[in-house]
Every structure is written in C-alpha cells, then in structure tokens.
C-alpha cells in the first residue's frame, strides 16, 4: 500500500515537472476558415525625369562617359510603405529603319545599358527582362533617390538605325 502511494506521488511529481518545464503550446481546434491579413498600404513610385537621349555615340564607347549625368534619374516613393525597387530593360527596338540591336555585352550590333546609384561608375548592367537587378532596397516614402544610366555601345555597326530601350522600375513593399 505504501509502495502504491509512493508510486502515485512519483507520477504526480513527474507530471507536474513536465507541465512546468514543457513549452507552452496552444492546440487550436481545426477549422476550415482561410485567414486573410492585409496591409492596406499604397505602392506607388514617381519619376520626374523619364527620358534620356544619348544622341549619336561612337562604336566601342562604354559606360557612356559622353552625354551622361550623375543622378540624372530621380525616383520618389509616393506610397505609404518602404519600397524595394528593381530595374530591368526591354530589348532594343529600332526607331528608324528596320533593324534592332541585340541586347548584351558589346559586340557587333550588340549593346547594353548600365547604371549606378549616384557614384557615376556605371558599373552594373541593367539586365534584360524578365531578369531584374536591385536598384533601391528600401526607398522611404516621400524621399527621392537617384541613379544614372550609361550605355555600352556596340563594337561595330552594320546599320545606322536609331535604337530605343525601355527601362522598367518595379516597386513592391520592402
């Protein structure tokens, strides 16, 4: 009888210790309800200066040391959350004539755009869509930031058709 009482005490003690030491875990009842949690914030960016004409540039020039200005493009986060902004470009398209350049590292009829953020180094290639490159990690609302774009010209031309490439800035909540 005494042994049985001691055994019960042991069980009680161990159970109490277990309850005291175990992590507090809540077991929710199963439910079929899908939860939706929304951050009702605005995503919006604005660019005042949205065009750049490099003019006539010689073959083989890189980083557009000609016709380029540091901090040329401005981006303002006009939303209500910090915004991550990435940059990409759509392939070259002819504006005159009928031939397009190929987008990529300089070669015959092949060129690319490069950018930097206020350094004037033009050291990062703007990738062709759908690839993207980080531009601003967390752009604070109402505070503009700046970047500049240069061009790595083709090494040679087989035609003189004027080219255009559109840059897309993608903004999301950071």
């Amino acid at each position: 009888m005494k042994h049985l009482r001691g055994f019960r005490y042991a069980i009680g003690l161990v159970a109490a210790l277990a309850l005291a030491l175990s992590p507090m875990t809540a077991f929710a009842l199963t439910t079929a309800t899908v939860t939706i949690d929304v951050t009702p914030a605005y995503v919006s960016i604005a660019t005042t200066n949205d065009t750049k004409d490099f003019g006539t540039v010689a073959a083989g020039l890189t980083n557009s040391t000609v016709n380029s200005t540091v901090d040329y493009f401005d981006v303002t986060n006009s939303g209500t959350v910090n915004a991550t902004v990435t940059i990409k470009v759509v392939a070259w398209a002819h504006q005159t004539g009928s031939s397009d350049w190929t987008y990529g590292s300089p070669a015959a009829d092949t060129g690319q755009l490069v950018f930097s953020v206020g350094t004037g180094l033009y050291d990062t290639v703007i990738p062709e869509s759908p690839a993207t490159e980080a531009l601003f990690a967390a752009l604070v609302p109402s505070t503009p930031d700046y970047f500049e774009v240069g061009i790595d010209m083709p090494t040679s031309f087989t035609h003189g058709d004027k080219q255009r490439a559109v840059i897309t800035l993608t903004a999301t909540a950071a």
């Binding site: 914030a41 065009t51 993608t170």
Partner: protein, 168 residues
Amino acid sequence: MRARLVVVLGIVLLLCGCAPQGSGIPAIVPPAAPIVYAGSEPGDDNTWIRPAIVRLGNFEPGDTAEYSIEVHNGKSVQSMYHIAYRVPDRTYEGFVPLDAAGVRFVTIEPMALVLGPRETRMVLITVTVPKYETPPVAWEFWISVVDTEATGLIQHELCSRWTVMMKE
C-alpha cells in the same frame, strides 16, 4: 514498480517534446506587417495600387480565397493597365517563389483596365488550390500592374505581394 516508473517517465518525456523530431526545419512564420507611413498617401495625380501585401493563412487544397486590389490612374488622360500574375524576384524568409506555372492557382478579373483620368477601379484576385495539388507549405506570388500606354524611357511596374501559408 521500477518498470512502471520508467514507462510513466518515458511517456511524460515524450509529451514534453523530448521525442525525436520529424525534421529540424524551424517553423515558418508569416511575414511581419511593414511600417505604414500615415499621412504620406499618394495624391490623385500619382498612379498607385493597394494593398501592398496580402497574407493568406490556414490554406489547404480545395480552398478558395478572394480579395480585391485597387488600381488608380494618376494621369490626366485615360490609360490602359495590364494586371498579371508575376513570379516574385524575391520572397519573405521561409517562403518559396511560385513559378510561372503557379498562375493556375490565381484568377484575375479583369486582366486589363481602361481607367479615365484620376480614376480608381477594383480588380478581383481569386486564389484557388485544387484538391489534388500539393503546393509548397509557404509560397509567394505577386500581382503586377503596368501602365501599357506609358511612353517614357522609364516606366513603372507596381506589384502587390501575396503570401500563402498552407495548413500543416
């Protein structure tokens, strides 16, 4: 007597969480809500979308969830906007990007909007995972909004981030 004690102690230890774990992967937590800057709402002359983030939880195959995003044309002229499913460039920690095939889980209605000057309209996003599908435990996709009539060298794509956590 001693055997009984050992058995009871074993059971208690198991209940305490001392049992071998199925995996060492830490639990995925929903992304934290970002700081929202009150008072910096965009004006009528800014193009914007809202909300920035939508988090779906407790989701399981066979479930459907709906939520609408707003799209505002900040221009003084009419413009067309294209709304599309987008593979994310990055994700919240623990979430995996749903690839292009993930578009089968998402319905967008309408996928194109013609908005008048300063006009705002709603776009209904429906997420459905069929019962026979087994998506990742936590995944993310984006809803992309692009002004297809923008003419400048710099154009904008605004994205709403959507995260989905499946019921485990």
